[in-house]
Subunit: 239 residues, 2 copies
């Protein structure tokens, strides 16, 4: 149990330092193996160590990961979970895959930080094109919805669908304008200000969901699905 | 090359029939192996077959996948890509992992459809709680932004951030109301109507992005990032 807790603290510290989604996911895959083998080596229970680790990370690690890391880890873990579920009858395969993964991941952690640098420049350059394309696409959707005849679409439904797209287009347009606005004398860069206020808003949203889960007013599954939306918007608007 | 094209058509047909994200992702992982081995067996070039398959699926398969399948596949593939990139120096590991994966996936495809059924009921029950939690979280974010002093926040920036959250909350509220509205005599179920109109709007958005990519007005990378947003909203609002 102590091994699991220790691994949890180490993992949390590592996740808080790493700012790359791929490296973060690699940590979440690697640490359980280390905890298992470590506890086993110290004649403790490997299974118990992994369980404690899981509970610790579940309750504490969310703040330590980036939005991208959380979303990527969620997908990779849920797919791994699906694969493991299918192969329960075939333990040898799981063990073999684990060995291969650990080999890969030890290499991964040593090289991961260096790979990030290569992408930063072009991502920044593309952001405006992405924002424009998203607005264009949403506008074509709006043009598709508006002319639908009233006999085919109830008023409440039309209003909801139009509001969904209008809200999206106007918010994205306003954000683009704010980003492009020139900084006045006594103000910092507006793009940076927008980033900061949206980050603060995202933190508040995330905290609300995590609090609701902790208080038990929503199930872990419901909280997870709400978090997916919060983190996805964070990735979209904060990059 | 013919093997690759054939594999592409088969994969597209399979993806169009399968409506489960995990099974779809499994197809996209499995088919390249089959194409490679098949071409090799027929004394063709395995690499060329996989290349042709990739080009074919890239241009044609998007419509055949579900939004969830596309998002899951994107994450799993990008993480696999990251792992393979790291292990380039160690081909044996890649081959070993491939063998394990294929073993798993052959089992996976035979069992995948049966696993879906277990989750459908509870997902439907949770949807309202998720929607409520998302609105609550966004409202707390709005309450965080509004009282920020004007000297700390430029007007354009405040307007953009508030619009972002207000648009989100009011659109989500309107959608929830539309879903709950009772069907009048000559109208179908409003929830079903909303679903239908949003699906149509999503199709138009997706088509716009794919057309832009095909015409070359945006890069594949930009189109990919815009699609991620379209598919994420589709998953959120269409389930």
């Amino acid at each position: 149990m102590l091994t699991g807790l220790l691994a949890g603290v180490v993992a949390q510290l590592a996740l808080a330092r790493i700012r790359d989604a791929y490296a973060e996911t690699t940590v979440t895959v690697l640490v359980p193996f280390v905890a298992y083998v470590g506890a086993d080596h110290l004649r403790g229970s490997g299974v118990l160590a992994v369980l404690v680790l899981g509970l610790y990370l579940r309750s504490r690690a969310h703040h330590a990961t980036t939005s991208q890391g959380w979303l990527l880890g969620r997908s990779v873990w849920s797919y791994a979970d699906f694969l493991v579920g299918l192969s329960r009858r075939d333990d040898i395969v799981v063990v073999a895959m684990s060995c291969v993964l650990v080999t890969l991941l030890v290499q991964g952690l040593t090289l991961a930080p260096s790979t990030t640098w290569l992408r930063v420049g072009s991502e920044d350059d593309d952001s405006r094109s992405v924002a424009r394309l998203r607005r264009e696409a949403a506008t074509t959707a709006l043009e598709e919805i508006r002319p639908i005849e009233p006999e085919h679409l109830a008023d409440t439904v039309r209003r909801a669908a139009v509001l969904q797209y209008e809200g999206y287009v106007s918010a994205q347009t306003a954000m683009e304008e704010a980003r492009r606005a020139e900084a006045s004398e006594n103000e910092r860069d507006p793009a940076e200000q927008l980033r900061k206020v949206l980050r603060r808003a995202t933190d508040v949203e995330r905290q609300h969901v995590l609090d609701s889960r902790r208080r038990g007013t929503v199930s872990a599954e419901v909280a997870d699905r709400a978090l997916r939306d919060v983190e996805t918007r964070a990735v979209r608007d904060l990059g």
